[in-house]
Structure formats: C-alpha cells, structure tokens
Symmetry: C2
Subunit: 205 residues, 2 copies
C-alpha cells in the first residue's frame, strides 16, 4: 500500500536516503517528527540546512571548523612537523581521545572508492600535497581504516608522498588490547605474527 | 573532545533526538549530509519541515491524508459499520496489506502512556466517540499493540464504547503463523492455550 499523503511520502523518502536508515525506520522517524511541536521540527530542519550551508573547513587541515583555522592548527604547543592523515572528523576525535598524538592532522573527507565513484581528486589530497612544499613536515602518518578503500588510499598517498623525502608511516595492525587470541580474526592474527616486535621494545610503554 | 563546530554540534544534537539514534549514529548521519550537494540537503530539510507544517488528517478517521477525507473513508466499497481502532498509520498499512479487512479505521495517534504523560485527551478518542453517535457503527475492533500501553488504551476505550451498545472486539492473541511452539514466549503460549478454539472452527479458513 502506498502512503496516503505525498507530504509524508516525501519526508519518508528523504529520511530513507540516510545511511543505515531503511524505509521502515524512516517511517518511524517521520511519525515521531509529526507528533512534535511545529517549532521544534522547524529547529530540527533548520539545524541541518544551516550546517550544510554555513559550515567551514580549516584552511590548513580541511577539518570542520567554525573559523578559518581550526583549534588544533592554531595551538602553538602542537608539533606541525608530524601530520596524521585521516578520513574524517570522527577519526580526529578518536585519536584526540587517546592523548597519544601531539602533531597536526589532515582530513581527507573520505577515502578512494572506485565503486562509489570517489577518486583522489574528490578528496583533500591536493591540499595535503601543498602542505609538503614548505619543507616543514618530517613525517606523515597514514591513519586510515583497515578496509580495501583505506588500503587503496594509503597506497596512493604513499606513492605521492615518497617524492618529498619524508617518513611515511602507518598505524600498527595487530591484536586488540584486552582481546583474546582465539577471538581475533585470522587476518589480524596473521598480521600480528608477521609484524611481531622484540619483547623489550613491546613492553616499553 | 567537544566538536570543533557549533553548526555541526547543533545538527548532531538535533539528529540525536530521533528515536533509536544515538550521538554516534547522529554524527555519521550529519557527516553524510555534509558530503552531499547543498540543494540536496535543502530538499531534505524542506521535506521534513513541510511535512510537519502542512500535513492534514482525515476529518473522519484522523489518519494522515492530503485531502479532508482519506481514500479509505471515501471508498464506497468499504463497510462503515465496522471500525478498526489503531495506534498510527503504520498499523493501517500493515492491516491493509493483509487484505482481510474491508471496514473503516480510526487512528488514535498514539496510546495511553502515563509514563510519557500521554492521557486519553492527547489521543483522537473524542473523535472516535463522535463517530458512535450516528448509530451506523455496529462493531469496533481494538487493534492495539500487545503492550502495557496498548492494553491500558484498550481497557479505557472498551469502557467508553460499552455505553453505545455495540460489539467491541480485539485481535486474537496466540502463536505466530509459521512459528515453533518451543520458540513462543510463555505468555503467548499460555494465552494460546486459554484461547484455544474447536478444531473445525480453526481450520475453516
């Protein structure tokens, strides 16, 4: 049965375009919104439009920021000679939460994915290369997801960055901390054997 | 770490008000919207605002409808002497999909839930009672969820409807069709024993 209202149908169609939201969930969300106060829904709708229309990106690292330069790039206590390349702002937040990294970031805004028609030029790769020209950068850490797309992106960037004569590193892959050997998947366990480190070095920290 | 943009923060806060959407998912949805074309996001935002501002409800059954009377209430082939009372439009769609019901509906717009501060006056109960005054209605089917709230609502409506001298029925409770006995929960299995029917009557259809 089709919906008895095109207004509801449109809203459900739009909500169902969100990742991970099917039509059934979209319907539940639309009905929830319908039961709310009119002003509340206006605020909801406006917050989304305004975000898309007015959000800015840091001129240097391309992270989301309300100002031309983000708080991390402006922070004089951070080391600009190390740049950590990530997919999006969620990765910046995750790494900041570890308190293990005091360098700068570069946010690609996605990963290379031929299946979705996303190539290097759709990402902030040009901006990354421009940051290499100053000679200030000594190391680039590729902190990308351990997926096919993440690996492809890392491969591409490593080749481009190699010309600049700097250290290109990537995050260690291995067992999760607090994880069980038997529970680890084969690929991860295999990788943790291949990448094993001298005991002294491993327990240092 | 708090978000580096109040615009993003507002959008995430708003998306996280949706039922079943936590802050982590809200962030994923916001980043997905951010990567889209500006016009596309304007359409998204507008469809939601417009739905809330302009959607109408059927004058008779209170279902969502673009016209003053919904398609079901306007359909002359349907029987107006039987009214099926449901919580919301999703239930209408579910029952229509069974093709077992040819009467009219009445959409309450929710169920009584003291915990959420929803009483009978917050639902379309007054409109239901008004439909009883014509004397045309012979049976009211309470097709409410089998939850505490659904039961409370059914109890309340049954008492109100009793005055009108008509048949008030409710949907059968029992085993799922295609379900295993051992997999059914205790309450449902117990109910299916208490409500057992003569074999001849059960296999009729």
């Amino acid at each position: 049965m089709s919906l008895p209202s095109t207004l509801l149908e449109n809203a459900v169609d739009q909500l169902a375009t969100l990742p991970g939201i099917g039509r059934r969930t979209a319907m539940r969300l639309a009905l929830d919104l319908l039961r709310r106060d009119q002003h509340e829904v206006a605020r909801f709708s406006e917050a989304i439009r305004k975000m898309r229309d007015e959000v800015r990106f840091c001129d240097t690292c391309c992270n989301i920021s309300d100002e031309p330069r983000c708080a991390i790039c402006r922070d004089p206590s951070r080391d600009p000679s190390t740049i950590c390349v990530v997919e999006d702002i969620r990765d910046v937040i995750a790494i900041e939460n570890t308190r293990q990294f005091k360098g700068h970031y570069h946010v690609l805004g996605g990963v290379i994915s031929p299946m979705d028609g996303i190539g290097p030029d759709d990402l902030n790769t040009q901006e990354l290369m421009e940051r290499m020209t100053s000679g200030e950068v000594k190391e680039v850490i590729l902190a990308l997801g351990t997926t096919l797309e993440g690996d492809t992106t890392g491969f591409y960037l490593n080749r481009k960055l190699a010309e600049h004569g700097l250290v290109v590193s990537m995050l260690a892959r291995g067992l999760s901390v607090g994880g069980d050997l038997a529970q680890a998947d084969e690929l991860t366990l295999g990788r943790s054997i291949a990448d094993r480190k001298p005991y002294e070095q491993s327990v240092k920290r």
